[in-house]
């Protein structure tokens, strides 16, 4: 479209930039509890984004993604608490270790598709959860590890908020770059038609494996950030309901939209938070809301708005044909 090509970077991404600017000044006037909640949403959003690389782009429903989240959190906690390493080492090694786990699990899992893939990833993640849950000598079992030392700079929530925010932005750019690269396109092609991609000479298995490892990397980073936010890790980070919750967020926000998982993560975390203020039975309310949303907005919230925006632009561009 010639019209679209004329638009500058600023005009094309105005909503994105407004969003970034809003969250950059967000902590200036809001109370601490909101900043904390926002930081938590950023972390969960990163986790959901990493899952969507497998779920939305690759079309493989992973039900064990929380495993990498858990591994990332435990890596950070154990390195700082047991080996007394510097916090930067702990943060950097968390995604690396998580990626190693993803390499092992992905090696076996990406050969499968559909429900088989879902259950195999679930099996692996439950195995990791069971070990974290029961190995008292190493992971302190179901008590979790509490009191992770945090450097002075991150004692207050606002600096940590900015830290998480910057990491989220960098990760989003990286994920975007990966998704727009030939590699990312190949992943989508595999989702759409595995056989055709195989015949065109691409190594399907290698692509999916690498994609799985990259997703595990970002999930590990999210887990590490969450561990530092809470200053504690628990085995339940890796329980299958966490994985299912992330799948829910992706579908809720829209798997076909780039920022869909972020929308879903924010919507579900906020709903959980606000409904649970009014009633103990927030899951009933959330469940009913999910049912209503599935019926009324197939494509998720993000998909709904994207269709609206696209529809409007298309109407503007294409003249009415009688």
């Amino acid at each position: 479209m010639p019209q679209k090509a004329k638009k500058g970077f600023l005009a094309r991404n105005r909503w994105l930039l407004i969003g970034v600017a809003f969250f950059a000044v967000f902590p200036l006037w809001t109370p601490v509890i909101w900043i904390h909640l926002a930081a938590e949403i950023f972390i969960i959003a990163l986790f959901a984004m990493s899952l969507n690389m497998i779920l939305g782009r690759g079309g493989l429903p992973s039900f064990g993604h929380a495993c990498f989240y858990c591994v990332g959190g435990y890596t950070t906690a154990l390195l700082t608490m047991k080996l007394h390493l510097h916090i930067s080492v702990a943060i950097i090694s968390a995604p690396v270790i998580a990626a190693l786990f993803a390499a092992i699990i992905g090696y076996f899992s990406v050969r499968l598709t559909g429900i088989h893939f879902a259950i195999l990833t679930l099996g692996f993640s439950q195995l990791v959860w069971a070990i974290a849950h029961k190995w008292y000598g190493f992971t302190k079992g179901d008590d979790g590890i509490t009191g992770i030392p945090v450097p002075a700079a991150f004692q207050a929530i606002t600096p940590y908020y900015y830290f998480v925010f910057v990491i989220l932005l960098v990760c989003l750019i990286l994920i975007r770059v990966v998704q727009n690269s030939p590699f990312g396109n190949a992943i989508v092609a595999i989702r759409e038609n595995r056989e055709r991609v195989t015949f065109s000479g691409l190594k399907v298995w290698h692509h999916l494996w690498l994609n799985f490892v990259i997703a595990g990397f970002f999930a590990g980073l999210a887990g590490s950030l969450l561990a530092l936010l809470n200053r504690a890790v628990f085995p339940d980070f890796g329980y299958w309901t966490k994985s299912a919750g992330a799948v829910l967020m992706c579908i809720f926000g829209g798997v076909g939209v780039f920022i869909g998982p972020i929308v879903g993560a924010a919507a579900i975390t906020l709903l959980e938070h606000y409904i649970s203020i009014y009633t103990f039975y927030w899951q009933l309310a959330l469940g009913c809301l999910i049912i209503i949303l599935v019926i009324s907005l197939p494509g998720g919230i993000g998909g709904f708005f994207q269709d609206r925006l696209r529809g409007r632009e298309e109407k503007r561009r294409t003249p009415e044909v009688p």
Partner: protein, 295 residues
């Protein structure tokens, strides 16, 4: 003595296996015919247990009350889920499987809180019917009679489901609809009605599992969350849609758990996941499934 320890472990594994089988059998039926991953299955099981508790209490904990409960409670739960299927799920079969997943997950967490709202947060136990309040002697050792009854019921339900699917006209229609929806509809069969009845039948089996477990173990609203996932594991080990496979896989899972406790008590839960991983790596299509091509 050690012989008896192994034997009693085997029997308790068998008891667990029967419960796994009942949840998984309904799931595999729904998966095979409706082609959906029903997350709500664990919730159905949980509601079956709670409904059974209410009915047993209402009938005053008598023997005849228990038998009546076993007939009424699962049917009541199944009827509730039939209505849900007709109202909510029916229109989504044509859509992407992911939305179905989200929908059943929504139903699962809604039933979870609904149970806490109705029956409270405290763990409940249904009274054991008087006729089962004594042990039987197995090789001279006492063993709870109710567990024996449960094992018997597991096998009975297996044969019942098998006969319904294989020998009745309705079972034939169901299998036809599973194979080719459009062709079955073209032959003048009301396919949506068949689907609703299959969903109801699957729900009935799971609710029966819940009702049978009610007098034996304490029930909490979250019992369905773990049970649902174990049912998925059983179904996948079995091979999707295979009923004998589900029985065998449930037996494997139950026994592995029972004997795992003897070997390594802390990691007993992990053994089942190990079995799952090994089976899926060696035979991704499950024990009784049709081989799928692996790339």
């Amino acid at each position: 003595m050690t012989g008896w320890v192994l034997m009693s472990q085997f029997l308790s594994g068998l008891t667990t296996a029967m419960i796994y089988f009942l949840i998984a059998a309904g799931l595999t039926l729904i998966l095979g015919v409706l082609k959906i991953m029903n997350f709500a299955q664990g919730g159905i099981y949980m509601l079956g247990a709670y409904t059974c508790y209410t009915f047993i209490k209402a009938f005053g904990g008598t023997n005849s009350g228990f038998w009546l409960t076993l007939i009424i409670a699962p049917i009541a739960v199944a009827a509730f889920f039939c209505i849900l299927e007709a109202l909510l799920m029916r229109r989504f079969y044509e859509k992407v499987a992911l939305y179905m997943l989200l929908l059943t997950y929504g139903i699962l967490i809604a039933t979870y809180d609904m149970a806490r709202m109705i029956w409270g947060w405290i763990i409940k136990t249904a009274p054991m019917p008087p006729m089962f309040q004594r042990p039987v002697a197995i090789f001279g050792h006492p063993f709870p009679l109710y567990n024996v009854f449960l094992i018997f019921m597991g096998f009975f339900m297996f044969f019942l489901i098998w006969i319904v699917i294989r020998k009745t006209a309705w079972g034939k229609t169901m299998r036809a609809a599973a194979d080719d929806r459009e062709m079955t509809a073209a032959l003048g069969i009301n396919v949506p009605l068949v689907f609703t009845s299959v969903f109801g039948f699957g729900a009935w089996i799971a609710a029966m599992g819940g009702a049978l477990v009610a007098p034996m173990a304490g029930m909490a609203a979250d019992m369905g969350i773990d049970a649902g996932i174990i049912a998925f594991i059983v179904v996948v080990i079995a091979g999707l849609g295979s009923l004998p496979g589900a029985l065998l896989a449930a037996l494997i899972c139950g026994e592995v758990q029972a004997f795992g406790i003897l070997v390594l008590p802390e990691l007993a839960i992990a053994f089942m996941y190990l079995v799952l991983i090994v089976v899926l790596i060696v035979r991704p299509w499950g024990l009784f499934g049709k081989p799928i091509t692996i790339k």
